[in-house]
Structure formats: C-alpha cells, structure tokens
C-alpha cells in the first residue's frame, strides 16, 4: 500500500508520507492520554495508512455484517467534519483488559463506556494535533457510539466520501499493553472535511518540518 497514489483522493505519495507522520504524533498523544486513564502503559501503534476503493473498506475488519462498535466524533469550528473510529466488537474483552487491568468498582462502571472513552481520547488526540498543525480552530462535539454491522456503521461516512471520490483514506491502528499484548484493532476513517485538515497539516509539516 505504500506506493499507492490515489488520483481520486488527489493524494500524492508525499501527502501519504506526511499523513503517516501526523498519525504518529496523534498516536503518541493518544497513547499518553489512554495511559493516564488506565493508570498503566497503553501504546497506540502508529497507524498504517491505506487508500482503497469504497467497496473494499469492509475487508479491513472482516466483512460488512461483522458486529462492530463505531464511535463517530463530529467536529466544528473553522472546518466541519467527522472522524469515525471502528472497533471489531470481538475486541471488547481485550479493550477492557487493556484499560482496566485492575478490577475495581469504579473501573466496572467505566467498562460499559470503554469504546466511547477510547474513541473520545483517540479523537481528542487527532483533533488537537490537526488543529495545531493546520492552524484551524476545531471543537470536538460529543461522540456517538453505535453497536451494529460494520458496513452499516460505515455507510454515512462512506456516502460523504462517495459523493466526492471512489476511494477512501483509512488508518488502521492497534492498542497494545507495554508487553505488546492485548491487541485491539481500530480502523479510523476521516471524512472529506477531516481529509482537508490532514492535507493542510501535511502541507505545513512539509514547509516547516
């Protein structure tokens, strides 16, 4: 995928390299925030960056009717958009073990909202880094969590992308503990508003590395 150049998304290899660099910054920030929440070390792997046809997105998580949890984070400000964080539902137990290794009453209350909290923290990191690098004011709105078929969760954001292009920018990351275990996969799909921010941030990174 490294050599993919997407004419539909107008992404050059330079753009994709810069987006990878931005994602590394976001992942580091998200890892620190998740570690503070969990009280243990949580690593957010630097996401792999893919551009792929709309119809192939479900292959990233096992098919369109695979149960999944989607956390949609809308944002507004200088730019309006959405970022979708999609977790395979089967990762729930691993996420709970990762975030709440110590069983306590307080943690048990948080378990139910583990995906929302994780999506919130990941999106916070992305919005903060993108806002800083693109020099745009961005305000995250409350995340919305949905559990359903992965394809159905993706539809709204794919329709948004599909009205502009036939290819999707997808970021695939994993959450790990300090030993590299308890892997939880997360697929991150930015919509066109978010992609514009990535490109503005990428341009800034390239001009002022």
């Amino acid at each position: 995928m490294d050599d993919v150049r997407s004419s539909m998304l107008s992404l050059t290899q330079g753009d994709i390299d810069a987006i990878k660099e931005i994602c590394s910054l976001c992942a580091a920030q998200a890892g620190s925030a998740l570690s503070r929440l969990a009280g243990v070390s949580v690593i957010v792997a630097s996401p792999e960056v893919f551009t792929l046809p709309l119809g192939e997105v479900p292959s990233l998580f096992g098919g369109s009717d695979t149960p999944a949890v989607g956390v949609l984070v809308p944002f507004q400000g200088d730019v309006e958009g959405n970022i979708l964080f999609l977790f395979p539902d089967g990762g729930r137990r691993e996420l709970e073990k990762l975030l709440f290794p110590v069983d306590s009453a307080a943690n048990r209350e948080l378990v139910d909202s583990a995906f929302t909290e994780t999506g919130n923290i990941l999106s916070g990191a992305f919005i903060t880094v993108l806002s800083r690098l693109s020099e745009r004011l961005l305000i995250s709105l409350p995340p919305i969590t949905v559990k359903d078929m992965a394809g159905a969760i993706l539809d709204a954001i794919l329709a948004e992308i599909g009205s502009h292009a036939d290819e999707v920018l997808a970021l695939v990351s994993r959450l790990k503990d300090s030993a590299g275990g308890s892997l939880v996969k997360v697929v991150i799909i930015p919509d066109p508003g978010s992609i514009r921010l990535f490109l503005q941030a990428a341009a800034r990174l390239r001009s002022d590395p």
Binding site: L72, A150, A152, A156
Partner: protein
C-alpha cells in the same frame, strides 16, 4: 448454487434459483427488481440518491436513479418490460441520528425517496419496503419465490 453477493455500489442480475445477497446496509438502500414470469431478479446496493449530471456511467450501481435504470435496461435486454417487474426496497437507516455533520445527513431517507421516485417514473410497482430506523440490515432475495428476507443484528427477521 452459490449466492450472488452484491457489494457497495454494485448491482447484479440473477436467474432462479440463484440467491442475491447484500450485507450490512446502513443508510444505503437495496433495490430489488423481479420478474415473476421469467424468475429473474436484480439487486442493487446504492449509496447515494441521484447521479445528477455526473459521468458515472462506469458506476451506475452507486446511485439510486442510475442503478434502477441500469437494472431495468438489463431486463429489457432480455425482452422484459418495466410493467412486468415488481420492486422491493430495504435499508435507508440513519445510524447516527441528528449528529452527523455534513451533506450525507439523513442520506438514508433521501436514498429511499430517490429509489421510489425512479421506480414510479418507469412504472415499476413497489410491492414492499423496510426503510428507516437506526439499525443495519442484511437482505437476501430468493429468485425462485420472489421473497426478500431482512435480517438485523438485534435478532429481527422480516419477510417481504
């Protein structure tokens, strides 16, 4: 016989007894056309309502209007006219009601409306529909019986 799987923005035509299936519809809509006499069915998994004047001739299955027309043309190539067809539609949910920022807000109901209007324009009778709500749907169409089954992860199973 293996079922014909219809992916996002695709349409397929199948003869009995081959089954047509599409998975994980959210705001997308499945449009099914059927000729009972010929036992021939077609299914599209559309993502957007109208192609307008875009040059989308290579992806007619993406839009409700162009997908419907492409399927009707497929039947006409087999000497089946629109008046000999019946239609069923399913999907068109709003998975993140009220919260999505962008042009695809309420896209599900607009997809369904575009499908209904195009079917009506070509004189195809809409026999049944399962549209809206906020749940994903997988739909299976039996070309030998004309029955459309809608499944959700919440355990619901509807026969149209």
């Amino acid at each position: 016989m293996k079922p014909a799987i219809v992916g996002i923005s695709e349409y397929k035509i199948a003869e009995a007894p081959q089954q047509l299936i599409t998975y994980g519809l959210g705001s997308c809509v499945a449009i099914v056309l059927y000729c009972e006499k010929a036992r021939l069915g077609a299914m599209a998994h559309v993502m957007l309502p109208l192609a307008f004047n875009r040059d989308e001739t290579d992806k007619p299955g993406k839009f409700a209007d162009t997908a419907t027309v492409a399927m009707i043309r497929g039947f006409e190539e087999r000497s089946i006219l629109p008046r000999d067809l019946s239609a069923k539609i399913a999907g068109g949910a709003e998975m993140f009601p009220g919260s999505y920022r962008g042009v695809s807000r309420r896209i599900g109901s607009r997809n369904a409306l575009a499908a209904r209007k195009t079917l009506s324009y070509y004189g195809v009778t809409l026999e049944a529909q399962d549209i809206g709500g906020n749940m994903g749907r997988t739909v299976e169409f039996q070309t030998d019986t004309g029955i459309l089954t809608v499944r959700t992860l919440r355990g619901a199973r509807l026969t149209l």
